[in-house]
Symmetry: C2
Subunit: 125 residues, 2 copies
DNA sequence: AATGATGTATCAGGGGCCTAATGCAATGAT
DNA sequence: ATCATTGCATTAGGCCCCTGATACATCATT
């Protein structure tokens, strides 16, 4: 698993989004136990305090919960996960289209370009 | 013109990308003179130092140039602009697809979702 | 009962970003 | 010549982020 850190955004937000994706994609399943903060931080090569901050963000939106001193676990409410997945995907699309239109491309350009990109780069099957 | 500032990324980078889009989209044309740093900063409601930092970034990639004490101007090399536009659009597509796949969507999902979004939200003509 | 693992909290130091306030050199306009 | 404009540079202060170190309470295990 990769934990690439880009310098232009707070690390704790990048980690937050990364783990969020792992949950939404199903890599981590409802009820799964996350690694301990210390282990998790070591794996991601960041400070435990920073990892804690990232996990707190995920707890704020009910994606994970804490079981006393047993650790942190993925929510068992699949609706929370599915709703977030829908919301995030729409947000990604919205941001993407906005950026593309900002540089002067219209709907047709966008559709054409992305189809072309996928044809050229992703159909390796 | 809107100058929305988001808190999770350095302001000078957001301003840099914003002006870059204005050039790429053709709002600012080759040879156009930009507002003075002081005026530009006031318009965007940021500090002149921050605006200067943003403009320096644009100058680094030869998108603008400085004419002594006359001000800063858009490059007259249309190739630089066109190449950057191509590069940026590919980068946006790449980042978008990566994020979408990170949350568990495949190529077909992506194409389907974005087509659906455009159908529902952008065809107001 | 003792130990280890876990979450949680705090403190100090450093770095980057942003603002505010100045100052300076060069150029164009008057 | 004088003045305003412009780019450019510097300094100081504040804020947030990140790290490193440390400490504490709780729970499960032994």
């Amino acid at each position: 698993m990769l934990w690439e850190i880009n310098s232009n955004q707070p690390i704790y937000l990048q980690i937050m989004e990364r783990i969020q994706s792992l949950i939404i994609s199903g890599y981590y399943k409802p009820g799964d136990r996350l690694p301990s903060i210390r282990d998790f931080a070591a794996t991601a090569s960041i400070n435990p305090n920073t990892m804690q901050k990232a996990l707190n963000e995920l707890e704020k939106i009910d994606l994970i919960y804490t079981n006393k001193t047993n650790g942190k676990f993925i929510t068992e409410d699949t609706n929370v996960i599915q709703n977030l997945k829908n919301q995030i995907s729409i947000q990604y699309i919205r941001d993407f289209i906005e950026k593309m239109m900002d540089i002067g491309l219209n709907e047709k350009d966008i559709i054409k370009n992305i189809n072309q990109y996928i044809q050229n780069n992703l159909n390796n099957e």
